[in-house]
């Protein structure tokens, strides 16, 4: 278990819901649309305080993981209200404890801005996917457009101690981890986006 990441997100659990209120409301329609793709056995990575659970379509079979026990303690009541199967487990994406090829889909939401080694984390998730399994991501990334790229570079070291990295090239990381990109859709500038990729069959 990555202790520094665990401590950071355990600490953030205290104020996370206050800060996430605006973004979750703003992104609600796009998240609902992306999560409507959930089918089969789904692994949801970094469930946090469970803010995303209200966007899950009902009746799905989902395992949600997070590195932070304090985050998951807050997610518990939201998970209990989900109209489907939702099992929450404390787990580090770098040390997954599931058998290989045990999920049809992996879904992430603002996750790979925070995973310490994103390519290794994405590769570990690919091993969890069945052949041809799908990866659905809602992520914020770095920008290729000036001056937004400059701003994100400036803000990354300021924000890093208590939150996510702001300037990662997550689409490139998905490709480096061995996935086939199917679709990248810009939600806000080229910074907030949905990424749909497949594990090679």
């Amino acid at each position: 278990m990555d202790e520094s990441t665990l401590r950071k997100w355990d600490f953030a659990a205290g104020f996370y819901d206050l800060l996430a209120c605006g973004p979750e409301r703003r992104w609600a329609p796009e998240k609902r649309k992306l999560f409507a793709n959930m089918h089969g056995k789904v692994l949801f990575v970094a469930v946090g305080t469970g803010q995303d659970i209200r966007f899950f379509p009902p009746g799905r079979d989902i395992v949600g993981i997070d590195i932070s026990p304090r985050m998951l303690a807050k997610a518990g009541p939201r998970a209990a209200n989900y109209a489907g199967l939702l099992d929450l487990q404390v787990m580090d994406v770098h040390q997954l404890e599931f058998p290989d090829h045990s999920f049809d889909q992996v879904v992430t939401s603002c996750t790979f801005c925070s995973v310490p080694d994103p390519v290794a984390g994405l590769a570990a998730l690919r091993r969890m996917l069945k052949k041809g399994g799908m990866l659905y991501m809602f992520e914020h990334t770095g920008s290729h457009v000036f001056p937004f790229n400059l701003m994100l570079d400036v803000m990354t070291p300021i924000w890093r101690p208590i939150g996510p990295e702001m300037n990662r090239d997550t689409v490139a990381n998905v490709e480096k981890a061995g996935y086939e990109i199917r679709q990248v859709n810009n939600i806000y500038l080229d910074v907030v986006k949905t990424i749909i990729a497949a594990s090679p069959a």
Binding site: L19, R26, L152, D190, V192
Partner: protein
């Protein structure tokens, strides 16, 4: 472009307020005896520092990147320009505050324009 009134109003409010506050702070901290470049840098740093302090409030209310990016750009631009103004003193205080607010709205409009060009496009 954002079309929901609550978020549109939030974007306008946060950028206008940060523009006004950055312009005010830059003109307050810069002395007319300063070198122009030093005044611009100090104004920019002060504006961005102020915006960082206000960001948790605006993010919690109105959104993450959609708020952070224009607000930080507003703070940087207003701080830099009104740092310069602190040396030259072309404007009265109400003129400086109005100018800061206008910069906030202009930055927001430019960001909306760039976003409209990129939204939905496959990267």
């Amino acid at each position: 472009m954002e079309r929901r009134f609550y978020f549109l109003a939030g974007d306008v409010l946060s950028n206008a307020l940060v523009g006004i506050a950055s312009a005010w702070l830059a003109t307050v901290i810069v002395d007319p005896s300063w070198h122009m470049y030093a005044a611009m840098l100090a104004g920019m740093a002060a504006g961005m520092g102020l915006a960082l302090a206000l960001l948790p409030l605006f993010v919690g209310l109105f959104g993450a990147m959609e708020v952070m990016l224009p607000v930080m750009l507003t703070a940087m631009t207003a701080g830099m320009l009104f740092g310069m103004e602190g040396v030259m003193h072309w404007l009265s205080t109400p003129g400086e505050l109005l100018g800061g607010g206008m910069i906030g709205l202009l930055v927001l409009l430019l960001t909306y324009g760039v976003d409209a060009g990129m939204r939905g496009r496959n990267a």
